[in-house]
């Protein structure tokens, strides 16, 4: 059952609409696949079989009664960073191992209102801090294309679950590449919208000025379908945008003749795996053959995005994570001696090594005497990086480049070398610092492993990115390739 061509969310909805299957059948099928495969894959932290079946039956009843929402019965998984009412939300941390929120994130709520059925919560790097899914308290998730390799991170579980065909689509969040890089490493399509496009309410904060929720799915069409439901102003998130949400699905067929695609020169130099570069150039050549114009551009400050990001994100994280103090909810150490001991041990036991590292870096960067040299300078750099993008967009419509410097790497290969690990984000961080939308789509694989092409758009120009990716996916089928059957791997 696992080797068939994966089905898209759009085709599943069509089947439901035509009565070719019921939502309950779809959910049972998902649960069966998860049961068969996920022991090895570890893409889910929590599976809510009972809740999903109940929701599926309700969706079927709604369909029968003619009051079904546009996504009624569609199986979906949520990254375990999105709060789900009544369903454990751990952020892949021991700190929240037993945390059951009494509310749902706005994005989750909107999808549920449209009828989508939550199958479970996916694995991730702890508090979204990581690029390999190896920092999860629940153990690493594996790449369905090669079980010895990582799925990328932090939304590794969502990427792996979609790639393995366990669910047609999943939510993800992207603070520095956490949707795009795992999408690239797992051979799926993932979009990180403009900062402010999707409400952050109920999405557990890592770095507030960078965090953005998005979609990980098989195709650009599915991304358009789900993003249209998730996006839109939320009065409960002051940073959510008031910009109206276009109909992304009908935008998929917009004319793209003469579209100017900017290629940052430095992104295709020696820092990129040359074989990966070849795959990307081939894909870009196909877009050119379909009427796009390729233009070389420069992003002169983009090489500073790693240092800028790794000051700003930890600085924000260090205070966002201060609330986990063992007082009101979350992990509390046993028999604290006093307040200091309660704080120290609860946090020491509750947070993993990477989270502690970033809290320390962030605390340091904000400290008196270091603020100007670190945090403030990083913010100034951020403005330069953003301005580079805005300048580039005066001459091009879309910017294209690699999503990650190479294909999926092996488990354990980079986890003990944070600086090498952080290089994974070279091409993605600038987008978050500038607040831009970007997506990753699969092109021709390399040695049996997926390769992702990153498309970056102007603020709130998600529709064009989706249309461009859709155009490519109309003529190619890389996005429909399935990994080898489970059990074949390692």
């Amino acid at each position: 059952m696992a080797s068939e061509t994966p089905v898209t969310a759009s085709s599943l909805l069509e089947a439901l609409d035509q009565g070719r299957c019921s939502a309950e059948e779809l959910i049972r099928d998902c649960l069966d696949r998860i049961g068969a495969v996920d022991g090895a894959l570890n893409s889910f932290i929590t599976v809510d079989a009972e809740g999903a079946l109940a929701a599926a039956r309700a969706a079927d009843a709604d369909r029968a009664a003619g009051r079904a929402g546009p996504l009624a019965g569609l199986p979906l998984a949520h990254k375990d960073i999105f709060c789900t009412e009544g369903l454990r939300t751990s952020c892949a941390s021991r700190m929240l191992d037993t945390f059951v929120p009494p509310y749902s994130a706005t994005a989750v709520q909107r999808l549920a209102t449209a009828g989508a059925v939550t199958v479970g919560k996916t694995n991730m790097d702890e508090f979204a801090m990581g690029s390999s899914n190896e920092t999860s308290y629940y153990g690493p998730c594996r790449n369905p294309w090669d079980g010895d390799r990582v799925p990328g991170g932090s939304s590794g579980g969502s990427a792996a679950a979609v790639a393995a065909g366990l669910v047609p689509a999943a939510t993800g969040t992207d603070t520095g590449g956490s949707i795009r890089q795992p999408a690239a490493l797992c051979g799926i399509t993932g979009i990180k919208p403009t900062y402010g496009r999707v409400s952050r309410l109920g999405m557990i904060a890592f770095a507030s000025s960078l965090d953005q929720g998005g979609v990980m799915a098989r195709s650009a069409e599915d991304c358009a379908l789900l993003l249209g439901t998730m996006a839109g102003h939320d009065p409960a998130d002051s940073t959510s945008a008031r910009e109206p949400v276009p109909d992304y699905r009908s935008g998929l067929t917009m004319a793209l003749d003469g579209l100017r695609i900017g290629l940052p020169r430095r992104w295709f130099d020696a820092s990129l795996d040359s074989a990966v570069g070849d795959r990307l150039r081939a894909a870009l050549g196909e877009l050119e053959a379909r009427g796009a114009r390729l233009v070389d551009i420069d992003l002169p400050h983009n090489h500073l995005s790693i240092p800028a990001y790794y000051l700003i994100a930890p600085a924000e994280a260090s205070t966002n994570l201060a609330r986990y103090d063992g007082v009101r909810y979350g992990h509390r150490c046993k028999a604290p001696l006093d307040l200091e001991d309660l704080y120290t041990r609860s946090r020491e036991e509750g947070f993993g090594a990477e989270v502690q590292r970033r809290i320390l870096i962030g605390t340091y960067a904000l400290s008196a005497g270091y603020y100007d040299a670190y945090y403030k300078k990083a913010q100034q750099t951020r403005r330069l990086i953003r301005q580079d993008y805005l300048d580039a967009f005066t001459g091009v419509d879309v910017i294209a480049g690699p999503t990650a410097p190479g294909t999926a790497f092996r488990l354990g290969e980079k986890i003990d070398d944070p600086v090498t690990m952080y290089q994974e984000d070279s091409y993605t961080l600038g987008v978050n610092l500038a607040g831009l939308p970007a997506l990753s789509l699969p092109v021709e694989p390399l040695g049996g492993l997926p390769v992702g092409l990153q498309l970056i758009g102007q603020h709130f120009d998600e529709a064009r990115l989706l249309a461009l990716a859709h155009r490519y996916q109309q003529d190619t089928d890389w996005h429909l390739q399935a990994p080898p059957p489970p059990g074949g791997a390692a």
């Binding site: 952050r200 999405m203 998130d237 002051s238 940073t239 205070t319 201060a322 609330r323 945090y375």
Partner: protein, 481 residues
Amino acid sequence: MNWEPVIGLEVHLQLATRSKIFSGSATTFGAAPNTQASAVDLAMPGMLPVLNEQAVRYAVLFGLGIDAEIGRRSVFDRKNYFYPDLPKGYQISQFAEPIVGRGQFEIVLGDGTSKTVGITRAHLEEDAGKSLHEDYHGQTGIDLNRAGTPLLEIVTEPELASAEEAVAYLKALHSLVLYLGISDGNMAEGSMRCDINISLRPAGSDTLGTRAEIKNVNSFRFVEKAIAHEIERQAELLDSGGSVVQETRLYDAERDETRPMRSKEVATDYRYFPEPDLLPVVLEESLIEELRATLPELPTAKRQRFQDQYGLSAYDAGVLADSRALADYFEAVAGTCSDAKLAANWVQVELLGQLNREGLTIGDCPLAPDALGGLLARILDETISGKIAKQIFEAMWQGEGDADSIIEARGLRQVSDSGAIAAMVDAALAGNPEQVAQYAAADDQKRKKLIGYFVGQVMKTSKGQANPALVNQLLAEKLPD
């Protein structure tokens, strides 16, 4: 050595919004613990603050009220520290770009002189919760009802020179915020709490000494006592060759002393940085103008106008302008009776006296201002005398009706019929020949006394209703020279 105190105050003013500054929870005082704490107040994962616009409007009104620079763009920051009653591990405050910049306002001191106090800044922030150490036997309870209550922190320049000035400033501030309607000013419930920065320097010196900060003093009287105590403590220290340590101290009202807070709680690096969950507050000129248009006449201006327009003394104007409700009451009375001085006198003496005796405020006054004005009008048109008026005032206070109906019902109308009074004067003289004879022989001093005696006789006959001026006039005519 002759030491000169230098005092600066930071007032935490609770704004009178119905809901909290960043959540929809109610701000009502005295609710059962944690019944007014939402997921946002509890800092649950994924929760976000949303700024209460009414708090912004109140802050701007305050800025306009002290003629301050209004920050057209102000920024919220996170002030980071761990404490159990601070759920997020940071307080949302304003640091580098506050909503209200430099301003000033005038205070009047006991000797009638006035002084302008510089306001450094005022910024918006959220209150913390409360740690409850009693009743939990070795544990600490936490009540987050107060967490997120909107505060305006108002910081003065170090320009106050005595406890008296500090208290005068606080009273004037209290009066101002009530005028503006931005706070209930209820000090017993913590709506106005004060941190006192205080240092001493040799009289006449320009440099500032090392200061101590006394935290969280919540009544005028305690501020006065805390400052007095702290001046004494620092002076003794300096006189004996010691030095003041920069530290945070607590005022213990029971023992009337200040003492250091645990050193752990001071010298913290708060790691301020801009709050990424909130956008900068950008104030449109139109909003500022809209708010400016709603500004009431403020105490200082009103005090001056009462002197200019009604010819009141500075003292009377000060008493009447102290609260907006009292000032409005006075003006309504003056309007009804058209004699502002009489109105001022009655409001200050009779009305405030009665309110004080019954422990009421002007807001609870059972007597409408036009009722009191109606009574005073009867004095002015000589229907009644001032003395009878006090009797009627009592009756009105007891709810017996308006002045006219009480006058009619009790037959208290003043007799101004000169024929009738002449008859009563004649009777009084005829009935007291001895005193008339004494009068004829007496000097001026004695005559005055005897006139008083005859007036008394006539008043007794008239049951107090004879017009005293007429009685005096007729007596003068009828008594021998």
